[in-house]
């Protein structure tokens, strides 16, 4: 199957989606932070919360980034299998904590880093093993 070919161009696109994904989450976090004191008690609070968050331009920047990620990701998925794309895309599990430390001044303990490492290994294993299903799908 030619679909499984992983070219340098595809890898570059995947790395780019990693960076975009990280950027998206950073923007969302920034947007959500403006409403951090909010507590949802009654149903209408949901709308108040959302209107507050959506008035932040960080959120719109994040959404723009989501659309861009979606376009690139859809294109990649039509070229290669999910099982090949995800291990490279899961690089954002490292990028996001790094961005959190540098730009959001969050603290990450050794215990949490080891947790992240387990998740990363797990994500790679889960997606690698899905290669076996390709024949039954086509």
């Amino acid at each position: 199957m030619f679909k499984k070919r992983l070219t340098l161009k595809v890898v570059l696109f995947l790395v780019f989606t990693d960076i975009l994904e990280t950027f998206t989450q950073f923007c969302f976090k920034k947007g959500a932070l403006s409403q951090s004191g909010f507590d949802i008690k009654i149903f209408s609070d949901i709308f108040n919360f959302l209107s507050g968050v959506f008035s932040s331009w960080f959120l719109w920047l994040g959404l723009l980034s989501v659309v861009l990620t979606f376009i690139i990701w859809s294109t990649i998925l039509s070229k290669i299998d999910l099982s090949v794309a995800i291990p490279i895309a899961s690089f954002s599990y490292i990028l996001i904590p790094l961005i959190s430390i540098i730009f959001l001044h969050e603290k990450i303990s050794v215990l949490r880093w080891s947790g992240i490492l387990f998740i990363l290994i797990g994500v790679i294993f889960v997606s690698l093993s899905s290669e076996e299903r390709q024949d039954s799908l086509e």
Binding site: F2, K9, Q25, F26, F28, K29, G31, A32, L33, Q35, S36, F38, I40, I46, F49, L50, V53, L59, I71, S74, T75, L77, S78, K79, L82, S92, Y93, I96, P97, I99, S100, I101, L104, E106, I108, S109, L111, R112, S114, G115, I116, L117, F118, I119, L120, I121, G122, V123, I124, F125, V126, S127, L128, S129, S130, E132, R133, S136, L137
Partner: protein, 127 residues
């Protein structure tokens, strides 16, 4: 903070479920289309237009909006790196969902990966 954290954890599970449904519909919609080999900008635009016309993409879109709204609330309460790590739970859901819906066999490697993600989530939650 403690009981609040349980609620946040529940919300992250909810976004993960929404993400899983979203991904399943999206992948199924994309599978129904094809993109010929040399990728050009024009082809990508045509592909996206064709994709938007598939009704399943709209279901996928609906769930991603839902997921986004819950996600934003989660982010307003907890650290980004914490939330994003826990959100990796959707890999577990996707593995189970594709087993149920696509009738795949769950290989040893996938179980191993799933267990590793669960250990990771527990470690991140403990910290």
């Amino acid at each position: 903070m403690k009981e609040g954290l349980t609620f946040i954890f529940f919300l992250i599970v909810l976004t993960s479920i929404c993400d899983t449904i979203n991904q399943l519909f999206l992948k199924s919609a994309i599978n129904s289309l094809s993109l010929a080999s040399p990728i050009t900008i024009i082809k990508i635009i045509k592909f996206i237009i064709a994709l938007i016309r598939v009704p399943r993409v709209w279901i996928s879109f609906l769930f991603s909006v839902l997921s986004l709204c819950i996600w934003l609330f989660v982010l307003s309460k907890v650290d980004l790196n914490f939330a994003f790590s826990i959100d990796s739970m959707h890999y577990i859901f996707i593995a189970f969902a594709s087993k149920q819906i696509l009738k795949e066999k769950v290989s040893f490697k996938r179980w191993l990966g799933t267990i590793s993600i669960i250990i990771g989530i527990i470690l991140v939650s403990l910290s």
